[in-house]
Symmetry: C2
Subunit: 259 residues, 2 copies
Amino acid sequence: MRIWAVANQKGGVGKTTTAVSLAGLLAEKGHETLLIDLDPHGSLTSYFGHDPDTIEKSVYTLFQAAVNQIKVPTASVMLQTRISGLSLLPASTALVSLDRQFGSRGGMGLVIHNALRQWSDRFDNVIIDCPPMLGVLLVNALACSDRVLVPVQTEFLALKGLERIKHTFERVRHAHKLPFEELIIPTMFDRRTRASHDSLKFLRENYAETLWEMVIPVDTNFREASKAGLPLPLFKPQSRGSLAYKALLDDLLERDMVT
Amino acid sequence: MRIWAVANQKGGVGKTTTAVSLAGLLAEKGHETLLIDLDPHGSLTSYFGHDPDTIEKSVYTLFQAAVNQIKVPTASVMLQTRISGLSLLPASTALVSLDRQFGSRGGMGLVIHNALRQWSDRFDNVIIDCPPMLGVLLVNALACSDRVLVPVQTEFLALKGLERIKHTFERVRHAHKLPFEELIIPTMFDRRTRASHDSLKFLRENYAETLWEMVIPVDTNFREASKAGLPLPLFKPQSRGSLAYKALLDDLLERDMVT
Ligand SMILES: Nc1ncnc2c1ncn2[C@@H]1O[C@H](COP(=O)(O)OP(=O)(O)OP(=O)(O)O)[C@@H](O)[C@H]1O
Ligand SMILES: Nc1ncnc2c1ncn2[C@@H]1O[C@H](COP(=O)(O)OP(=O)(O)OP(=O)(O)O)[C@@H](O)[C@H]1O
Ligand SMILES: [Mg+2]
Ligand SMILES: [Mg+2]
């Protein structure tokens, strides 16, 4: 079972879009895939038509069970999506209080890790969508992942935060002795602007060993796809955005074969 | 002294861009303006060339002082920007641990409110940039603001979260007996996509009484401006994005005259 987290503390860089696009492509290829939404704002959960405000069972249920030391069959919190081969572990807005409630309590970093152990033969791939903040939810994602995908918008402000994100990952990796590898994914590349080209050049000069060789271009079809509640590669397979995520997935599967 | 917060729990909707653009225009008109960065990720602080990782004095200093009940002259944490009439109260990444450290302690909702009291004659306007999450920092911003600007991307996913954001504001308004008014600002409107038009229609049908009548269009110049560390209205005054924020500011100043 391959576990990939999609993380970046900067907001709006394409984390949810990356998780949905890759998961759609994997399900289409026949890989049993699970998407996990760790964002209290629940974009991924809303994408598939569920309401993070009113949902009864969610990731939050798993944290509550861990605190009360009761066993919850994880299958009871899982949802089917309308895409065959793609399941969802939804978020609830109640997750927003996790740091306040449990942040300083020990042992809360492995709740997702322990829940996933039960499923190692049921799914080929797990993709975890992270919130735009550092806290117990991000630590949980990093603690169980083989690979962390870091979408970075090709613009100046987003680059400023990249050093910090790498420091954060280094600290968590050290503290929990985790083996995950990072891959930086340049997103929303707009070939019409100089800022995009300059930022890509900066990334290639300073982060070459953890940077994906290609880019995800700006594509207005992503918004249309989210309205239809479908990953773009299933909504418009020949669009620029779809072809780019397809190339990314091919590269990731090849890298996994090698390691 | 007018105090405006710019808030939305969804990431990447244009909060920092809105705060910077309006503050640049106000300073240009000769209004003494203070920008406050309450985002632990520090986009606003980075925008003006400071490093939220290494900065010594910041908003965090004010919270520490409040907990230790020592008086910190707020002027000692303020920075000048290169734009005359525009000052900055920077963020530090240390802010990320506030909810874990002080979240359940009482009285932490008024730290910014109390700090601003000392400045009521020094500044005409204060604009507060908020993080994409609900917590003690957002509560501080709402607790001292006359008006809350809510940038919302004109796309499906961003609309899904809008109901929840309004609930959050209602809850905080109720709990702290606050008078703030909201204004929803449609951002990144892309007239080429059907999704933008459909979402704008949805906003106009469902949120008419708190929605701004115009939109902020997609404009690639925003990225160029952030690279130059200047608000777009000072970088390219005749660009579409600048003209739209100028119209927004004129409307806001007119509404304030009336109330
Ligand atoms: N390559 C792209 N081209 C154009 N638009 C894109 C692209 N990738 C994502 N988007 C759009 O940008 C917006 C933000 O994307 P998304 O919600 O995936 O970011 P995020 O990092 O998950 O945000 P958050 O920090 O709130 O979790 C969405 O409207 C999405 O449709
Ligand atoms: N109207 C616009 N047209 C095009 N790009 C825009 C527009 N407004 C903002 N942007 C760009 O979108 C990105 C996100 O904007 P910004 O950082 O202001 O969002 P935010 O809501 O503050 O994000 P966060 O949730 O991380 O705080 C930036 O690269 C910015 O330059
Ligand atoms: Mg997201
Ligand atoms: Mg911001």
